[in-house]
């Protein structure tokens, strides 16, 4: 019972959060300052997602094999390798480090 209530609340809430913006502000060109802010939302959020996915475990900051994997991936991208290859290299380094350490 508890799980079903949770599932429904999460589903409805998540869809609401995702759709309020598109429904209210869709198709219109916002004023210039807002356009500049919107252009910067993506770099801000992507950067935060990278940090969350690499340097956190729950509420703890950690530096583990993922950091090495990301570093290798970053070097690969910097050398203009395709993204898929960079992801694979990062994962391989990360997995190998976990084997060793």
């Amino acid at each position: 019972m508890r799980t079903w209530v949770l599932t429904i609340v999460l589903a409805v809430g998540t869809v609401l959060l995702k759709t309020i913006g598109p429904v209210l502000a869709g198709g219109r060109q916002p004023p210039a300052p807002l356009t500049r802010v919107i252009a910067l939302v993506a770099p801000a959020l992507i950067s935060a997602l990278i940090v969350t996915g690499t340097f956190t475990a729950g509420r703890h900051l950690v530096i583990d094999a993922r950091a090495a994997g990301l570093a290798v991936g970053a070097i690969a991208l910097w050398l203009r390798m395709p993204a898929v290859l960079a992801m694979l290299l990062g994962a391989i380094v990360c997995a190998l480090l976990r084997l060793v350490v």
């Binding site: 999460l10 809430g13 759709t19 502000a25 910067l40 990278i50 990062g90 994962a91 997995a95």
Partner: protein, 212 residues
């Protein structure tokens, strides 16, 4: 996959799969699961999960100007919003390729639900997917999409996206130990408010990107 592995002992196999199918949000589901696992109640689990998803609010407003069609169409397209589809759909200058965003969504959906089923089925056999380094896939993938944003090749380079990205990273690092999951990413989005200042910018205002 890891959600299925972690959730099925606590919630049961079928409820875990159905939750992935209906909610379709890893952050929210993991947030709720971690509260339930640590003995928290239903209300706490639900509010933590929804708090973790409030980042979709600024994302929704960010993609809105690029959308066409009536409110119903925008509603349905907006429901396809997810972290990865947002990243895949974004283009230079704050525009969004809504078609790319929409096509990315079903792929992720199948992967997410299929992964949960696989996780539930092989909760013991598969073990931890992080053993294979798969948890690095997303950060490296996100980085591949962030770099062109910071160092555009065919547009005049600006310090501003770099400063904003560094500020967002710093905010996330600072807030992670002291706030529930999801809050750091949401607050980090506020770094974009730097854009409210007029474009003639002084390139010397860096120095916010302190690392942990």
């Amino acid at each position: 996959m890891s959600f299925g592995i972690l959730a099925s002992p606590l919630l049961g196999a079928i409820p875990s799969i159905l939750m992935s199918a209906v909610v379709w949000s890893g952050t929210a589901q993991f947030a709720a699961l971690s509260i339930l696992t640590s003995g928290g109640g239903l209300a706490l689990a639900a509010s933590a999960a929804l708090l973790a998803n409030t980042r979709f609010l600024p994302m929704g407003f960010a993609i809105a100007p690029s959308m066409t069609g009536g409110p119903l169409r925008r509603l349905l397209t907006g429901a396809l919003l997810a972290d990865a589809s947002f990243v895949i759909g974004h283009r230079a200058g704050g525009r969004f390729d809504i078609t790319a965003l929409a096509w990315a969504a079903p792929v992720q959906y199948v992967a997410w639900v299929g992964g949960t089923i696989a996780g539930v089925a092989g909760a013991e056999a598969i073990g931890d997917p992080s053993r294979w380094g798969l948890d690095v896939f997303f950060p490296v993938f996100y980085l591949s999409l962030l770099l062109p944003e910071l160092f555009p090749e065919h547009a005049p380079r600006s310090m501003r996206p770099i400063i904003v990205a560094a500020l967002a990273a710093a905010i996330t690092l600072l807030l992670t130990p002291v706030t529930p999951p999801g809050v750091p990413v949401l607050v980090a989005a506020a770094a974009a408010l730097l854009g409210l200042r007029a474009p003639p910018e002084s390139p010397g205002q860096a120095g916010v990107g302190d690392e942990a």
